[in-house]
């Protein structure tokens, strides 16, 4: 349970905690059961076009592994010794029937593990529609953009096959607008955290954002509005913390206790790449013209940089992290990466070099979604925070 003030905020966070810890996805099940014919589409990190799922009248449901509360019994039997934990716990969710109400699953091209998991899902759950989402690594409009538009169209047809209804351009445009509104609110919340991290603790904001992976987007937008109103209505004590960016946890999620441990060790997390999909497009996606082309353009030209994406320009490699430090007035970067996460861990030396070249202090550690021992994390992050206070800008 988080230490939150006895206010409206407490009630909101309690609700978010309940959603977060519910590994049977009762809310999504209830949503589906409320109206005959409703469909739920699961998706894995880091990005899928949720707008099209919404336009199909279906609920996009984020499947982010099993966290630290799920005992993996069956999942380990499907994997070798050396691999991250999210595929094991996702298999566990599937085999144990926790997501048996999901009508379709989307697996984006984030890494070879999630890619192969799409094929495993086809073999293990033949009654669940399964689709891999190929994302372009060429960022020219008439090359990668055209390819991605055709991919989006295939997703549209795939979803239409599940719901039994064709998905119109107008419906997608309307859904883009709904998600634009959600992203505006998400950005507002992140901006408020940058400005007042003592009032918007990362562990709290994480729960609010995580709720967006199980709630209908309209409901989530209202939740963010309520949360913003409640935190603006209060003033928590300002601590002498260091301001840090946490980078590398864009797929397998850290346990909530890890986020809290970083904060307790004397750091304000002022930016992160957890749950990146909720602010993937950095500004509004156009609602004019062909909506699939608009989504494609947004992916190509207005989305976040992150290790699974190729950076065509060597001069720009890793600068997004330097920019994040500047924009959020951070004093250092904590690389928190899941063990055996190829995209994150292969990228790390390059990112560290860039930060070093720009004089940004940094530390790195690994975690698994079920990491339980937080004392070393607290010590490492605490020492990092102290060193920033003592030595940075001296």
């Amino acid at each position: 349970m988080l230490d939150v003030p006895a206010s409206a905020t407490a009630g909101i966070i309690r609700r978010c905690e309940d959603l977060f810890s519910d590994l049977h996805f009762s809310t999504a099940r209830a949503w589906k059961a409320a109206k005959p014919g409703r469909k739920v589409i699961g998706f894995m990190p880091y990005y899928v076009p949720r707008e099209i799922i919404h336009a199909a009248g279906a609920l996009p449901l984020g499947i982010l592994g099993g966290g630290d509360q799920l005992e993996v019994i069956h999942g380990d039997a499907y994997y070798q010794s050396y691999i991250c934990r999210i595929p094991r716990s996702t298999i566990e969710l599937g085999v144990s029937g926790r997501i048996d109400f999901v009508d379709g699953m989307l697996f984006p091209s984030i890494c070879d593990v999630i890619r192969n998991l799409s094929g495993m899902w086809m073999l293990m759950f033949p009654n669940t529609a399964t689709r891999y989402v190929d994302l372009p690594q060429n960022f020219e409009d008439d090359v990668g953009g055209e390819f991605y538009r055709s991919e989006l169209n295939e997703i549209r047809e795939w979803l239409g096959g599940i719901t039994g209804q064709p998905i119109t351009d107008d419906a997608i445009r309307a859904s883009i607008e709904v998600f634009n509104e959600n992203r505006r609110l998400v950005r507002e919340a992140y901006t408020l955290r940058t400005d007042e991290p003592w009032n918007v603790p990362a562990s709290e904001l994480y729960l609010v954002m995580r709720a967006g992976f199980v709630l209908p987007v309209e409901e989530h937008s209202q939740l963010i509005r309520d949360y913003l109103a409640s935190v603006r209505d209060q003033q928590r004590p300002i601590k002498d913390n260091s301001r840090v960016v946490v980078s590398g946890a864009f797929c397998e999620q850290p346990p909530l206790t890890l986020i809290k441990s970083i904060e307790l060790s004397g750091c304000y997390i002022v930016d992160d790449d957890f749950l990146l999909i909720n602010r993937w497009e950095r500004s509004d996606v156009s609602t004019d013209g062909d909506p699939l082309a608009a989504l494609s353009r947004a992916f190509l030209h207005d989305s976040h940089s992150t290790p699974p994406k190729y950076e065509p320009d060597q001069a720009k490699k890793g600068l997004y992290l330097v920019e994040a430090v500047r924009k959020h007035r951070a004093e250092g970067v904590i690389f928190a990466m899941a063990s055996f996460c190829d995209p994150a861990l292969l990228d790390r030396p390059m990112l560290q070099d860039i930060l070093k070249a720009h004089g940004v202090p940094q530390i790195a550690f690994k975690f698994a979604e079920n990491s339980g021992q937080m004392q070393p994390i607290r010590e490492q992050a605490g020492t990092f925070s102290d060193s920033i206070k003592l030595w940075s800008g001296a």
Partner: protein, 436 residues
């Protein structure tokens, strides 16, 4: 007319058949060419085995340097362990691919190739992004080191088990609008599509003989080992020789050699000479370990186990399903080739393939070598194993090693597993005999 030449080098204490010695000569010549490239004014391209566009690179006169092959060579020469640790000391995670770390460690130690001479810096990195995520990061790391032109060539994943028109269109557009113009710029050579057609024509001839050789393992006893021996056989066509007369020459020579072995009723040649009685016929999934390659192989042939089909020998192209490079549709053919490499196929396709191999090659079972480094291969293999067992009724086994990190090869454990597996096959046979 192709003239078949005999290899110059003599077999050493390790017994090799003539084709293996010939292959070794070809590789040695290739490394000399690479080392001499700067002095000879030749430009060098680095690229990957899966999605290797050797015919295209040859159109621009590039010498083709393959970092994976360099890592393999380092592994075989017992140097990769030191290189991997060198890379880890400089901040690379112990969790990631050891090919990458071997390559990076080798660079930090002067980039000395297997010929004992420095390998040249590449003039261009052709990032053929096919079937392996790590490739992308690997070349971003090399780009940082060499600061040279880097060309991304993205191959979509065959997730639904089919190649669509949109996939081909995407890839051909990349070739036309990005890959070829950049290769022209770096090389200073104008692209000649007829030259590409000529190279592709040669590729198809060699591919025909390669497939014949690999499928010769359907014979009993198998005249080849399609995993350990197969690695020698795929070397030229997966590397810098596809599309050349040398490759045509080599595969014709190899085919004749295998034909002779079949006529004489011989099994494969092993490092200790002709293999004895064939007792077990296996299909193997996954790459081998290279740091203990000979020791690993010996665990098989000492027991009379021969690998009759392997997925690893399809990682640079799945020619046995009929694909041949097509000079009539050159760019489309390059795209189709990349799409078809083994690790770019979805898991259901991979399971079907292994199941068919067990049937077609009359194998006793499936062995999976799960590689710590390689999630592209390894993630999902235990499910594949279950599926193949279920469908074929043949026993399967699972071992874990690594490509080029000696710390992850435990000889006693591997041997123990293999011996248990062979016993399992015997029990299965006894059970079948009892039921008959």
């Amino acid at each position: 007319m192709t003239i078949i030449t005999r290899p110059a080098s003599k077999p050493a204490d390790i017994i090799k058949d003539a084709s293996m010695s010939k292959q070794k000569d070809m590789m040695a010549r290739h490394y000399e060419r690479l080392s001499d490239a700067p002095a000879n004014g030749e430009k060098v391209a680095a690229t990957f085995v899966p999605g290797n566009l050797n015919e295209l690179l040859m159109c621009f006169g590039f010498a083709n340097n393959l970092p994976e092959v360099n890592a393999i060579q380092s592994g075989l020469r017992k140097q990769s362990g030191g290189y991997v640790m060198e890379a880890e000391k400089s901040g690379h995670s112990e969790d990631v691919c050891t090919y990458v770390k071997s390559d990076i460690g080798m660079m930090s130690k002067g980039n000395i190739g297997p010929n004992g001479r420095k390998l040249p810096d590449p003039d261009v990195l052709l990032l053929s992004y096919t079937g392996c995520f790590t490739f992308m990061k690997w070349f971003e790391l090399l780009r940082q080191q060499y600061n040279c032109e880097t060309i991304m060539f993205h191959t979509p994943y065959m997730a639904d088990g089919k190649i669509t028109k949109d996939m081909i269109k995407y890839m051909v557009k990349q070739l036309k609008q990005d890959v070829i113009p950049k290769l022209e710029k770096v090389s200073g050579v104008k692209f000649d599509i007829d030259l590409l057609r000529a190279h592709l024509r040669k590729s198809a001839i060699a591919e025909e003989d390669l497939v014949w050789v690999l499928q010769s393992a359907k014979t009993k006893p198998s005249p080849i080992d399609a995993y350990f021996g197969g690695i020698y056989y795929i070397g030229p066509i997966f590397g810098a020789f596809r599309g050349t007369d040398d490759a045509i020459d080599y595969y014709r020579f190899l085919r004749q050699e295998v034909e002779e072995r079949i006529a004489e009723g011989k099994g494969p040649v092993t490092p200790d000479g002709d293999m004895g009685q064939e007792r077990y016929r296996l299909v193997v999934e996954g790459p081998p370990n290279y740091t203990h390659f000979r020791q690993f192989w010996k665990m098989f042939y000492d027991e009379g186990a021969v690998v009759v089909a392997s997925s690893y020998t399809k990682v640079g192209g799945t020619y046995d399903f009929g694909f041949r490079h097509d000079p009539v549709n050159p760019l489309e053919s390059l795209a189709e080739y990349c799409l078809n490499v083994y690790t770019n196929r979805n898991l259901p396709m991979r399971v079907d393939m292994l199941e068919n191999y067990i049937d077609e090659y009359q194998a006793d079972g499936l062995l999976i070598n799960s590689i710590k480094s390689c999630n592209s291969f390894s993630a999902g293999q235990l499910l594949m194993m279950r599926e193949v067992e279920k469908r074929t009724g043949k026993p399967a086994a699972f071992i874990e090693t690594d490509l080029v990190d000696p710390r992850y090869f435990s000889p006693a454990n591997v041997k123990n597993r293999l011996e248990s597996y062979f016993q399992m096959i015997e029990q299965k046979r006894a059970g079948l005999r009892g039921a008959a």
